[in-house]
Amino acid sequence: MKIEIDEGKCVAAGHCVMVAAEVFDQRDEDGVVVLLDPAPPEHLHEQVREAALLCPANAILSGGRDSAS
C-alpha cells in the first residue's frame, strides 16, 4: 500500500490522526495532515483505509493500483 495526501484539500478534521496515529499527524501551525509513513506495514492497512473513508475532504489517497500489493 502506498499513500498519497493532498495537503491543499485537507480541512484538518483530524480523523486520520484519530484512527491511524502511526501513519498520520497534524502540523502544529495549521492542523494540515502530515504523512509519517507513506508505505505503512500491512497491519496498519485497515486503519489507513478507514482514515481515507472518514476523511471529509478526500485528501488521503490510498490503494488504487497499489491496493493489490
Binding site: 480541512v11 484538518a12 478534521a13 483530524g14 484519530m18 502544529d28 495549521d30 492542523g31 494540515v32
Partner: protein, 397 residues
C-alpha cells in the same frame, strides 16, 4: 400563537423524537429529487431541493459547485447568517484562508491537551447536580453549562457574563424568533464580543482569541474576530449541549446500552459515534448551487438552494450496516455525517467528542441510579429548532 415552524428535512417521527418522520423516508426512496418549501425567518420561505440519501449528501457536500449560499454581505444587516469571520459565510479560497487560521487551535493534539480542563468543568457540574438534589433539571445544570463553560474558557469570557451569553446563543438558533428579534439579539452579542476582542488586542490571552490575535492579528479585522468568536460560541455550545441532554435521555431509555457507556472505557469512543449518528443534533445543512450539477441523473440548476437531511441520511438503508434504526453502541464504527462532510465539516468536532467522552461516563458513574423524573413520553424534546435537543430533563437518583 402561530404553529411552530418545522423544517421539512428536520421532521421527526410522531412516536420517537430521535427518528426521522416517515415523509423523510419516503423522500429517500423516491427516485426523483423533491423540491420543497423551507421556512426561514431571515430570508422568508424559499424553495430547495431536498437531498436525503447518504451517498448523495456525501458527494454534494464535497462538491465545490455547491456553496454555502449565504455569503457575507457587508451592506446587509448583520444576522447569524451574515457575519464576517463566520466560516459558514465563506466559500472556496476565502473559506480556506480563514479556516486555516483556526485549525491550529483544533488539532487532535491541542484538543487532547484540553482534557484536564474539561474534566474539571465536568466534576464541578456533577457536584452542582448533587447539591441541587433529585428533581434537578439536567439541561440547565449539566448539559448546557458544560460546553458553555468550556467555550467561555477557550474564548476567555468571564464567568459572570455566561448567563447572558448562553441566552443570546439560544435565541440565535430558534427558527421561530422573528427577524427583528434576531437582529437585535445579534447586535447585543456583537457588542459584547467586540469588547472581548478589544481586550485581546490590548493583551492577547492564553486562549483561542488570544492565539488568533497573536498568530494572525494583522491579517484579521476586529469585525472578523467578532464573527469568529460568535461562530465558535454558537457552534461550540448548542450542539454539544443537545448531545449531552438528548444522549442522556436516550441512554436512560436503553439501560443495557447505558451500562456499556458507564462500565466499558474501551467501548466509549464507538458509543459516542453511535450516539452522534443516532441523535444527529444538527439535523439539516443548507447549500446553494453556484453552477449546474448532477445528482444521480438529475440536474440541480445554478442558483437553486439545496437542503440536506443529515437526520435521515444517517439511517439510510443503503448503508451496508444492519438496522440503522436501532441504537447499538457496540456497532462497528459507522461513518456518519453528523458533523457534515467536505470542506465545511465541523471544525470543533474533536472538542465535541472530548466533552461527550468525559461527561457521559462520569455522569452515570457518579449517579448509578440516574433516571428521568417524568414519564418518558413526557420528556420535552426540542424538535423545531435548528438544533435538536431537550428543553428540560428533570432527573432523579
Amino acid at each position: 400563537m402561530d404553529e411552530p415552524k418545522v423544517l421539512p428535512t428536520a421532521a421527526r417521527a410522531t412516536g420517537c423524537p430521535y427518528a426521522p418522520a416517515a415523509e423523510l423516508y419516503e423522500m429517500q426512496k423516491s427516485e426523483e429529487l423533491p423540491r420543497i418549501r423551507i421556512p426561514n425567518p431571515m430570508i422568508g420561505e424559499f424553495e430547495a431541493v431536498a437531498l436525503t440519501r447518504y451517498s448523495d449528501i456525501r458527494s454534494a457536500l464535497n462538491d465545490d459547485r455547491l456553496q454555502m449560499g449565504f455569503v457575507f454581505d457587508p451592506d446587509a444587516p448583520r444576522t447569524m447568517l451574515n457575519q464576517p469571520g463566520n466560516l459558514l459565510n465563506y466559500n472556496g479560497a476565502e473559506h480556506s484562508r480563514l479556516r486555516r487560521m483556526l485549525t491550529a487551535a483544533f488539532t487532535v493534539k491541542r484538543i487532547r491537551a484540553l482534557q484536564p480542563m474539561v474534566e474539571e468543568v465536568v466534576a464541578e457540574r456533577l457536584d452542582a447536580l448533587a447539591a441541587e438534589g433529585p428533581g434537578v433539571d439536567l439541561v440547565t445544570e449539566f448539559s448546557t453549562p458544560i460546553p458553555t463553560q468550556v467555550i467561555c474558557h477557550l474564548l476567555g469570557v468571564p464567568y459572570a457574563d455566561r448567563a447572558d451569553f448562553q441566552r443570546r446563543a439560544k435565541v440565535g438558533l430558534d427558527i421561530n424568533t422573528s427577524r427583528e428579534k434576531q437582529i437585535e439579539n445579534l447586535a447585543e452579542l456583537d457588542a459584547y464580543m467586540a469588547e472581548l476582542v478589544a481586550a485581546h488586542r490590548r493583551e492577547p490571552g492564553d486562549n483561542m482569541l488570544g492565539i488568533l490575535v497573536r498568530d494572525h492579528g494583522p491579517e484579521l479585522t476586529d469585525d472578523e474576530l467578532v464573527g469568529i468568536g460568535n461562530m465558535l460560541l454558537i457552534a461550540g455550545h448548542e450542539t454539544t449541549a443537545s448531545m449531552l441532554s438528548a444522549g442522556t435521555a436516550l441512554l436512560l431509555q436503553h439501560p443495557e446500552q447505558l451500562a456499556v457507556v458507564r462500565d466499558d472505557p474501551s467501548a466509549i469512543d464507538g458509543a459516542i459515534e453511535e450516539l452522534l449518528r443516532f441523535c444527529s443534533p444538527a439535523t439539516t445543512m443548507p447549500r446553494q448551487a453556484a453552477a449546474d450539477l448532477q445528482v444521480r441523473d438529475q440536474v440541480i440548476k445554478k442558483g437553486e438552494r439545496v437542503m440536506t437531511s443529515i437526520l435521515v441520511a444517517n439511517r439510510d438503508p443503503d448503508i451496508e450496516a444492519p438496522d440503522l434504526d436501532t441504537l447499538d453502541v457496540r456497532r462497528p464504527p459507522q461513518p456518519h455525517i453528523t458533523f457534515g462532510y467536505g470542506a465545511h465539516q465541523c471544525l470543533g468536532q474533536q472538542l465535541a467528542r472530548l466533552e461527550l467522552r468525559v461527561a457521559l461516563p462520569a455522569l452515570f458513574n457518579r449517579f448509578p441510579t440516574l433516571a428521568v423524573g417524568v414519564d418518558h413520553d413526557e420528556i420535552d424534546y426540542r424538535t423545531t429548532a435548528l438544533v435538536f435537543g431537550v428543553n428540560r430533563l428533570p432527573v432523579t437518583w
